[in-house]
Structures are given as structure tokens and as C-alpha cells.
């Protein structure tokens, strides 16, 4: 879960990391009592807000109210603005980049820092990689004092109070909250010490069970205050998939696809493309599936109205094919099919599953390429959407 800026800063503040005084605004009438002069920042879950006009300065309340009126309901890089963070403007001596994250290459946490803060770190990595300092952290030891001294020197922060405590707190936030990224960019050096001016925190969804209350309250806040990008979810298929815990990625074609594994799902989407078709989605049920999940997955992918045919691509390991066929039949008992369905079925109890599907008039194949060719041909015969 990627947190909104104000959520990330609240976590930082809870750890004792200095952030500017702030208020969250939902409408122009909320501006009374905000710190002035203020920086007004649109709370959207995407970078590059400043360039897109999502960060503005206000000298007084009237100016702030006008900016809030202007921003609320507008779109920043495709995301409608529903909340604005008003922060006290900070006198900045200079800006630094500082992040702690889990490094996938090294299987270790790491600190990434640069004296060139305030700008896109990927741009720095590309144009001036020598300006980025990286230190890996042994998870059994934590951040040693010499690493802090070494980073302070590299950042020109020798003798600046609070750096060691700040870095240690970022690192402890990473572990205590199951974060995969805690990034402060820019970290401002001010006359009053170091202040986190912008923050990005990503929490590991796989660890939600350890922080059930925190995840629930953060999600609820995001639902109220941020929205998905526009137009991404025809028919609400994505929403339905999320409610049911089914992996679903919308694509721009017209062949709905369901697989029982991630790798074979990606392969099926690739083969559809190679055969001249376009998949409408990627959908994967996982390796321990049952009839109920199969039925729900069909409901999910067919919620998207831009579908001309459905391919179900199954090669069971633990999943039983007779169960999968029962799931398809279960769907047919409650729904009328408005498009052709092709099923590729191989693995445990496949003979029984294929017989069950034959009885309800559904084509089955043992080989994936044949099934793909068939579904691409059938989709081509359909009247293209919109009907």
C-alpha cells in the first residue's frame, strides 16, 4: 500500500521525525487557522505533482481558499484531487534525498542518500550516479554508528544535529510497520535542523495481518480522500476482483482470460497477442483453487463489457479439473452466456472436467496453443464493442 503524503508524514511524526506544521483541507471553508504563509499540496498517489500544478503557495487565507477551490475536483496526472495538505512554509538552506528500503538485488535493507535532493532520484541515478550513496544494512545488526557518520559526511551534514536519530527512526519505522520504502525527498536542512518536507512510504500488503487496524484505517482514509485514476475499470471488474481477492489486471483487448497460475496466465496473454488477438485482462486464481473461485473469477472478468470471448487456461497442480468444470457450470446456472467460451484443461481429473463441460456445450482443448487459436478466431467473429 502506497500511502498518501499526509499519511506518510503522520507515521514519520509518530516516530519523532520533524515534519512541518500542517492541516488537511477538504474544501475552501477549511482554511481558517492554517499555518501561513502556506504550501498547499494536492494529496494524490503519484509523483510529479509540483510540475503538474498540484503544489501552490499562499500568502494569506483568501489566497489559500482560492487555491483550494481551484484544486479540489481538478485532476493531477489523471487523479481527481479530493484533499489538500496545507503546510507551514519552511526556510530551506538546502535539500537532501534520504531513503531506507528493501533491496531486492542484495536481499538486504539499504540506505540510499544524495546531497542532490528535491529532484527525481531516478533522474539523478541516470545522469549523476556518483551523487548517490548506498549503504546496505545487516538486518540482524541495524544501522551502526559508523554508517551514520559516513553518510553524514557524504551528505555534508557533519555537525548537523539530529541526522543520526532521524536515520535510525526511519530504519525502525521500516521494520516496525513492515514498510518496504521510507523515503524523504526533500529532507530540508533549516536553521532549526532537519525537516521532512515530502515523504513516500510503501507498506507491505503481505504483512497486513500483523497491522490489521492500521491497514484498515489507512485504506478507509484513502477511499475517502483519494480516488483511482480515471476510466481504468470498465464495468467495475477491478473493484469486484479486489472484493473477492482475485488477481485481476485490466488490459485493452477484448478476450477475457482466466488462468490457474501467474506464469501460465502471462504465457496465455502473450500467446493471444502472438495469434493476433488482444486479451481484455490478466486474471489468476492461484494454485489452490475450487469451484466457487472459478465461478467468481468468471463473474469478475465478464463484468467488463468490452469482451468478445472468454478463454479459461488451466493446468492444475493442486487444483482439480473436475472442480474447475463444476465452477463453470455453477456460473452457467445463474447467468446467460453472451459470448463464446473456450477452456484449456489439463491435469488432475481433467477427463471428468472435460466431459462435464462437453455436456453443457463448451469447447475444451488439451493443448494451450490450440485453445488460443480457437478463442482468437471466435473473438474475431464477434461484433466489436460497443455493440
Amino acid at each position: 500500500m502506497r500511502l498518501l503524503e499526509f499519511q506518510a508524514k503522520r507515521l514519520l511524526a509518530e516516530q519523532g521525525i520533524p515534519v512541518p506544521e500542517s492541516r488537511l483541507l477538504r474544501s475552501p471553508s477549511d482554511v481558517s487557522g492554517i499555518p501561513l504563509p502556506a504550501v498547499l499540496k494536492a494529496q494524490v498517489p503519484i509523483g510529479g505533482r509540483g510540475k503538474a500544478g498540484g503544489i501552490r503557495l499562499a500568502a494569506d487565507q483568501n489566497e489559500a481558499a482560492a487555491i483550494v477551490k481551484d484544486l479540489i475536483g481538478s485532476e493531477i496526472r489523471g487523479y481527481p484531487v479530493r484533499a489538500i495538505l496545507a503546510e507551514a512554509q519552511t526556510e530551506i538552506k538546502r535539500e537532501i534525498y534520504l531513503a531506507v528500503l528493501l533491496d531486492k538485488r542484495a536481499n538486504q535493507p539499504m540506505v540510499m542518500a544524495s546531497a542532490a535532493g528535491g529532484i527525481d532520484i531516478e533522474q539523478v541515478a541516470e545522469q549523476a550516479p556518483e551523487q548517490i550513496v548506498i549503504r546496505h544494512i545487516d538486518p540482524f545488526i541495524g544501522v551502526p554508528a559508523y554508517t551514520i557518520r559516513c553518510l553524514a559526511q557524504a551528505l555534508g551534514l557533519d555537525g548537523v544535529g539530529g541526522f543520526g536519530a532521524l536515520l535510525s527512526r526511519m530504519y525502525s519505522l521500516l521494520g516496525s510497520h513492515d514498510a518496504t520504502l521510507v523515503e524523504i525527498n526533500p529532507l530540508a536542512e533549516t536553521t532549526n535542523g532537519l525537516v521532512a518536507l515530502d515523504a513516500k512510504v510503501v507498506l507491505d500488503d503481505k504483512a497486513a495481518f500483523r497491522h490489521a487496524d492500521l491497514f484498515a484505517s489507512l485504506s478507509e482514509e484513502q477511499e475517502q480522500l483519494a480516488s483511482r485514476g480515471r476510466g481504468a475499470d470498465p464495468g467495475g471488474a477491478q473493484q469486484l476482483a479486489a472484493e473477492r481477492g482475485i488477481t485481476f489486471v485490466p488490459l485493452d483487448g477484448d478476450i477475457a482470460m482466466i488462468a490457474d497460475g501467474a506464469g501460465t496466465g502471462m504465457l496465455t496473454v502473450d500467446l493471444i497477442q502472438d495469434a493476433g488477438g488482444r486479451a481484455a485482462n490478466f486474471c489468476e486464481m492461484g494454485g489452490h483453487s475450487n469451484a466457487e473461485v472459478m465461478c467468481q473469477a468468471i463473474e469478475v472478468v465478464l463484468a467488463n463489457p468490452r469482451t468478445a470471448a472468454l478463454l479459461i487456461s488451466l493446468i492444475g497442480g493442486m487444483t482439480r479439473m473436475d472442480e474447475m468444470a463444476n465452477g463453470v457450470v455453477q456460473y452457467l446456472e445463474h447467468n446467460e452466456l453472451h459470448l463464446p467460451v473456450v477452456v484449456r484443461m489439463y491435469g488432475t481429473q481433467a477427463e471428468i472436467g472435460r466431459a462435464t463441460l462437453r455436456d453443457v456445450g463448451i469447447d475444451t482443448f488439451e493443448n494451450l496453443p490450440e485453445a488460443v487459436e480457437r478463442v482468437v478466431a471466435l473473438a474475431g467473429e464477434q461484433v466489436p464493442w460497443p455493440y
Binding site: P139, G263, V269, D270
Partner: protein, 289 residues
């Protein structure tokens, strides 16, 4: 020979008394795997399919020589279960759980490295040396004993490819599922190194996917350290940027994560590229293996 497991491997099953654990243990036993002990906390003293059950791994290793542990343990308990296996000094651990938190995986990987345990997974169907030992949930009929090593991030994709190899009379030395990431106990590079050293493996099939940089690292290893031929299939050519394609690690973030970039790196390293499973037996035949 084969790699990691063979006919002499003695296996411990964690979570042996559960429905899935018990069922899959029976299938492994029937395949010929020597399952010598099981562990389920609180169920010590029982037997499952004639296999003695212990409360803790320590109890099992006190009574049996154990070469490998296979965990049917849900993700939220995976760390504790893995630390117990590592602490008991068992040299190989297969982590099947999907959705193990990243911080837990780092702890497992570091503890395993410190104590000398090799960890396969997480999110893997396991591994199998056909005809010798199955430490996994692969469908038996896609497997055939032979000389092609297979390594895959995806379980189902490895079934698909083994099915094609087997139908074409091409057997496998060992099939290793390294799992869906984004952190891996065993990397592609580590498995390639083992296959390179295994006298029984004559060629290798690498099944990769979008996300991360592991395939690029494998390509660098192949070009510098391998003389055995490698055939690769990378899936996710039609995957969009920024979407998680089912596996935790399968998300394109930047150019290096794309299938095209991985295919280029592997081709530059001399790897033969297949774009669909049916092309893999053809590439293998071209090699004269």
C-alpha cells in the same frame, strides 16, 4: 546425481497432519520420496501414513537423519517454521507459502545463510528430480527422468513446459521452482551454477518472467561461467508497466523489468530464446542434447 535432491534424500514434512500436507505427503511417498518424519506442534507421537510425527524439528532430528524439509505452512507462520528448520541444522528447506511478508523473507534468508541452509521459495511448488525424489506438488505425469535441468519462477509454467518436454521424449534431471518473489531464497544464478556442475544435466531450460533484474544477473553468469547450453522462455511480453501479474515479484518497474530487456540480455549471453513452450523441444533438439 541431479541437483539438490536425489534418491537418497531423507525428508521431513512440516504441517504433515493438515489436509493438504497429509494428502501431498502420500503422493510424494507414492512417487518414491523417503519421507522419514513429520512435524506439527501439539501433534507429536502420532503417525501419518506410517510416518512418525514430532512436535518440533529438534525432536525429529534427534531421531532421524534429515536432508530436507518441506513446509506446508501458511504465510503468516512461515518465518517461525523456517527458523525452526534452520535452527535444527536441516540443510535444505522448501517454502511453499505464498504471501510471506518481505521482512520475514529477509530474516529467513539471512538466518539460513548464517547457518548453512539452502532455502527454495517462497511461493513455489517445490522441486523434483524425476524418477528419484519429489519434494513438490508437480503433477506426476508431466515428468520424465532425463538430462535437461528446468528452473522456473512459476509453478504452473514449469508443468506446462515439462509436459511439452516429456511428450517429446525429453526427460528432466531436476525441475526447480524458485518461486514468485520478490525475494528469493535461491536465485536463478545459484541454480544455474548447480546445473553447470551436475554431470547428469546436459542442457538447461530457464523459465523467467517480467519484473526485477534476476534474469539479467542470470545472463551475466551464463556468459561468464557456463558452457552448458541454456534455452529460455520469458513470459509477460504483453504485460503492461506497473501492474502486478499474479506473482509478488512480477511487476514491470523501469526498462530492466520488461520481457524485451530480459530476452535481449539472455540472447546476448548466447542463450537460445523460445517464445512458447512448443519451441523448447525444438531448441533442445537443435543443440543435439
Amino acid at each position: 546425481m541431479a541437483i539438490l535432491i536425489d534418491g537418497n534424500t531423507r525428508v521431513l514434512i512440516q504441517g504433515i497432519t493438515g489436509a493438504v500436507g497429509s494428502f501431498q505427503t502420500r503422493i510424494m511417498q507414492k512417487y518414491g520420496t523417503q519421507v522419514v518424519a513429520g512435524v506439527t506442534p501439539g501433534k507429536g507421537g502420532r503417525q501419518v501414513h506410517g510416518i512418525p510425527v514430532y512436535d518440533y524439528c529438534a525432536g525429529a532430528v534427534a531421531h532421524h537423519e534429515i536432508d530436507a524439509a518441506f513446509g506446508f505452512v501458511p504465510a503468516r507462520f512461515a518465518k517461525d517454521a523456517a527458523l525452526e528448520v534452520i535452527d535444527a541444522g536441516i540443510p535444505l528447506l522448501v517454502l511453499t507459502a505464498e504471501g510471506v511478508p518481505d521482512h520475514d523473507m529477509l530474516t529467513i534468508i539471512h538466518y539460513a545463510a548464517a547457518k548453512g541452509t539452502t532455502v527454495v521459495g517462497p511461493d513455489t511448488p517445490g522441486l523434483v528430480s524425476p524418477g528419484k525424489c519429489k519434494l513438490g506438488v508437480h503433477p506426476n505425469r508431466v515428468l520424465l527422468e532425463g538430462h535437461v535441468g528446468v528452473l522456473s519462477k512459476s509453478g504452473a509454467l514449469s508443468y506446462e513446459v515439462c509436459k511439452t518436454l516429456t511428450e517429446n521424449g525429453i526427460g528432466q534431471s531436476t525441475v526447480v521452482g524458485i518461486g514468485g518473489g520478490p525475494f528469493w531464497g535461491l536465485s536463478q544464478e545459484s541454480v544455474l551454477r548447480m546445473f553447470q556442475q551436475d554431470p547428469e544435466t546436459k542442457a538447461i531450460v530457464l523459465l523467467g518472467e517480467v519484473g526485477g533484474t534476476m534474469e539479467q544477473e542470470a545472463a551475466a553468469f551464463i556468459s561468464e561461467n557456463m558452457d552448458k547450453p541454456v534455452v529460455a522462455l520469458i513470459v509477460g511480453r504483453a504485460a503492461p508497466e506497473g501492474a502486478r501479474m499474479g506473482h509478488a515479484g512480477a511487476i514491470i518497474e523501469g526498462e530492466e523489468g520488461t520481457a524485451a530487456s530480459k530476452i535481449r540480455a539472455l540472447a546476448d549471453a548466447g542463450v537460445r530464446i523460445a517464445y512458447r513452450p512448443s519451441e523448447i523441444p525444438l531448441r533442445i533438439r537443435e543443440l543435439g542434447v
